[in-house]
């Protein structure tokens, strides 16, 4: 039986205080020195968030695992080349994840492949229910893929990572009000794409 980490609250109301600058400096120094304990600590803190973000964007566990770990490898390389984060490791990780995802999507756009479902059907539910559920999720995902990158990001952070408005604004480097507006438009666009309920 595989152990799993708990899922976050979908919409967080708690604003997690960002790390202080001295703490970040210490971590960046540790990264520069390739200190295993510092690397492991940074990885343990941020991997679940990056994984959830990538999964939300792409809907694939294997891609989420590969890309999320790849982001941390890139962090090590970037710090070594003095091109890493200056004071916001989390923001850098999300930014890089977003770019890796964009690269991946560009590739699949050029070489489209039919993705196979990875998840194992829940034996507790009937096969019909499972098929219905997957079809429903697939249609939502198709609709989601039609959104702009910014709209996809705001939904991934808010509903995939469970970030508060403030945290989302911090990662996206936007004002909270801008995130509110973006979220509204993203949800409206999603509903429009799903087409179940006409909007506008």
């Amino acid at each position: 039986m595989e152990t799993v980490l708990p899922n976050p609250i979908i919409i967080s109301t708690i604003f997690t205080k960002p790390m202080s600058l001295p703490d970040t400096r210490r971590e960046l120094d540790g990264l520069q020195k390739l200190d295993s304990q510092v690397i492991a600590a940074i990885y343990d803190r941020y991997f679940p968030e990056i994984y959830r973000y990538v999964y939300y964007r792409l809907g694939s566990e294997s891609l989420a695992e590969d890309i999320a770990s790849d982001v941390f490898v890139r962090l090590l390389e970037a710090v070594k080349k003095k091109r890493g984060p200056q004071n916001n490791i989390k923001g850098w990780l999300f930014s890089t994840a977003s770019n890796v995802i964009a690269d991946h999507l560009r590739r699949t756009y050029r070489r489209p492949t039919e993705a196979l479902s990875e998840s194992i059907p829940d034996l507790a539910t009937s096969l019909t229910d499972e098929i219905d559920r997957r079809q429903q999720t697939d249609s939502v995902r198709q609709a989601y893929a039609q959104l702009t990158p910014d709209q996809q990001n705001v939904l991934a952070l808010r509903f995939g990572d469970g970030y508060s408005l403030e945290e989302t604004a911090n990662v996206m480097r936007k004002k909270v009000n801008a995130v509110k507006a973006l979220q509204f438009r993203a949800l409206a666009a999603l509903q429009r794409q799903i087409g179940e309920v006409p909007y506008e």
Binding site: Y43, R52, K80, R141, Y144, P149, K175, N177, L187, A189
Partner: protein, 313 residues
Amino acid sequence: MNEKLYEVLEACLQAVETGAEVESVLKPYSQMADELRPILEASIQAGSLAVPSVPEDAMRRGRARVLQHAAEMRESAVRPHKARFAFSRFATALALALIFILSGTGLVRASDGALPGDNLYPIKRTWEDMRLLLVFNPEGREELEDEFERERVHEVDELLAEGRHETIAFAGLVTEQNGNNWVVSGIPVQITPDSKLPVDPVTIGASIIVEGRTNLQGFVEADRIELLEPGISLPPFEPVEIEDSGLENNDNGGENEAEIDSLKEDERNSNDVNTYDDSTIDGTNNDARKNRNDESNDNSNDDDDESDESDDD
């Protein structure tokens, strides 16, 4: 007006998250209900795309990959002459070289899948030493040594799978420590009261040599743990199936997935393109191109913050 709408939406999202029905949530906001209803319904759909949970295995594998990469970077930064215990059999290899050459490679091939304790295992190890002797390129030799060290990990994994009791030794990286139960390059290792440990503490990320015995319970009982000097290359962190390709070295380190290969290829091809600062998420999704027209209405409402965005692509 919009500001009020967004505030109400946020309150409604919180309520829906706690399990409230959309209609009951909208009751206090009857004037905005028609506008908010489809948004809230979309939010429920949006929630369905989240991953149910983060698999611990995925996290463990990723951690191992990252720590392995850090170890390799440390090695490349230091890279002294590599301490290799394989070279200790130099003389034996030289003496047997002629015998093997004269007897052909049939015996060697037969020993290819041998495990510690098997009759053919010494032949397998000696052949490995001979192959090292025949490689004069330092980089080629390092690759070969890495392959052999991966093979050691693979052998231990096989022995554990078969539930055999054998004396083994392998080099690896400590990726987990839970009391006396460690994971070294994907191999469960138990530290017993009789285990001889180095004076310096062994922490996660340390490069070590494990000497011990495999057992039926599926772990290695450590007799001795030795800390490796910084700069010693290590096998990968998960036991990998070494492809049986005769005497040729075709192992690619276990990364066979086309997706990863293409990711790395893309990383190489667009190394400069993917130089990121710690600014913000942006990303450009070609899949979203089709939505540009639909988005035009949205763009007209965008806040001034949109100008903050940069497109690294």
